[in-house]
Amino acid sequence: MLENAFHGDRRYWTWIGFLLVLMGVGAFFYLQQLRYGLGITGMSRDVSWGFYIAQFTFLVGIAASAVMVVLPYYLHDVKVFGRITVLGEFIAVSAVTMCLAFIIIDLGQPQRALNMVLHPSPRSILFWDMIVLNGYLVLNVIITRVTLDAERNGEAPPRWIRPVIILSIPWAISIHTVTAFIYSGLAARPFWMTAILAPRFLASAFSSGPALLILLCLILIRFTKFDPGWEAIQKLALVVTYAVLANIFFVLMELFTALYSDIPEHLLHFRYLYLGLDGHHELVPWMWTSAFLVVASAVILVTPRLRRQKRWLVAACIGVVVAMWIEKGLGMVVTGFVPSPLETVTRYVPTFPEVAITVSVYALGALMVTVFYRIALSVRGELAG
């Protein structure tokens, strides 16, 4: 199957080459980070997790969101998702791989990473995160491989794959729940220590993931013979709509509890996010952009007349993906550390090497998605026409 990835036109190879260059640049800076230490990043004693862990958190959501096509298709027999289910699962495989890459990149002693396996510590949520993430990766690799193989041979998938697929549904929920538990179990960080963190993570995941899938489908429709049907796209748009509304609702719940209870150690974090604290306003413009995008996208999505127009739908999907990326990939992690437990505010801005390394991991993900989609489409004979 993989041989299909090695045949392509000029445009395909230019894109692959572009991604490889980005990965090369990132690899160069990662080697520097290995030599110099994580001091090459903008992280500090007080803000000890930054951009890498934030991207990891965002991407766990993207990975989990595959369930939003798998569940309707396999449990509710939503036939229109038949053509895009495997695309969702391929996004999951790529996103989980990126998550694991970000974790390794963030380690101070990556060559000792196996200590997590050699000295298993079930009391640590990171231990469980390792298990659910790797398990989810294996599940989706098996599922995509087997179902696509069956499709190529023109036969029904083997019966044993169905329980595996059913298992992948609660498993998808578990990866984002456990990832939320990494944060929400820490008494030291009141910003994260909220029971609604896991539901919030899921809501933002189930909006940004399907929105990304819609965008990818529209790109495929434009450049290939692939066509999942407008109904499938609209069904996905409905998923995005409900998830965005749930996410707005959850954020408002958070704001109410923090603002009305007026407990400083909860309040200060939100003040830093939306107003700035002690003269530090790094995140403020981003957070308001995110808030605006979420509301604007929600308005578009709940208006059936707009949601049905491709132009508006694209705008809303881009808005949702960008807004959720800002919320999780920029705001969520850093704000847990600002102010610190000693109530000091430390400025955190990612450095150029940090951003370059991050971009290279995204390039890896994009490369994986490209290759997987190419394989899937060539198996179905839907490639460029």
Binding site: D106, R112, N115, R159, I166, L342, E343
Partner: protein, 257 residues
């Protein structure tokens, strides 16, 4: 084969119940705490603790004797970039050390004073709970230890510590050391470190370096499990507070205000 919605919901619900249970059970059990529960070690055992007398400490605002001796005997590097700082014992303004235990009418001298802070060697340490490799753990004598050979540098413990007591080696520590004491190792890039209650001196029946270095006798060290120890005698007679008591970490460092 099909699974109808109701069956699926049942399975999913059971699964969710199972996983949540797994997380909470070991925490509720808290295997690190002694047989007597938090703060009450087994009779005849050892539970090292410290009492810091702020009244004695504040006589000498500029004094850094405890900080300097600790840095010297433990090869604690001194980085110029505040982002990369390594701190074992250091001083912070009173409101930062006790964010929830201050009011605006308090004695101005107290509010303005610099309080020595360090690892609290909590009886119920969150850092130990989160470590994915058991590179940090609670010894039976109460010291929260670290194994720098095993630490993978994930910094989960730093996120979990409510006292900001842990530092990470963002860059090579040796380049920020003027003198290396051969009696103690330095650290390598990419591991977390913190106060070790001078466990290397306790092994030789010596008091922690900061305690012996303090010219004002502000630091008292001893066995909290022994009712006749100096720390217990002070605590029995005077009102002492701990940092962030509401979190249930049970620090073993006490402050006389």
């Amino acid at each position: 084969m099909t699974v109808d919605r109701r069956t699926f919901l049942k399975i999913a619900g059971l699964g969710a119940l199972g996983t949540t249970g797994v997380y909470s059970l070991p925490v509720l059990g808290s295997p690190e705490s002694g047989p007597g529960g938090h703060g009450v070690p087994a009779p005849g055992g050892t539970r090292w603790g410290m009492v810091i007398d702020l009244a004695a400490c504040r006589h000498d605002e500029g004094c850094r004797d405890c900080i300097e001796v600790c840095g010297r005997v433990h090869n604690v590097p001194h980085h110029d970039d505040p982002r990369h700082e390594i701190k074992w014992i250091w001083k912070v303004p009173y409101p930062e050390a006790f964010p929830m235990q201050q009011h605006e009418y308090q004695e101005p001298a107290l509010l303005g004073m610099a309080v020595p802070v360090m690892c609290n060697h909590c009886d119920n340490p969150p850092c130990v709970r989160v470590c994915p490799t058991q590179a940090t753990w609670k010894r039976s004598d109460g010291v929260v230890m670290m194994d720098w050979h095993r630490c993978i540098g994930c910094r989960y413990c730093m996120a979990a510590c409510p006292y900001g007591s842990r530092s990470f080696n963002w860059v090579e520590p040796r380049e920020a050391l003027e003198h290396q004491d051969p009696g103690f190792p330095t650290r390598t890039r990419g591991v977390v470190e913190k106060c070790n209650f001078c466990e290397e001196r306790l092994a030789k029946n010596e008091l922690p370096a900061c305690v012996t270095a303090c010219p004002h006798g502000a630091l008292t060290f001893g066995n909290l499990a022994d009712p006749d120890s100096p720390v217990r005698r002070i605590l029995a007679g005077r009102m002492a507070i701990r940092r962030k008591p509401s979190l249930g970490t049970h620090p073993e460092i006490f402050y006389l205000v």
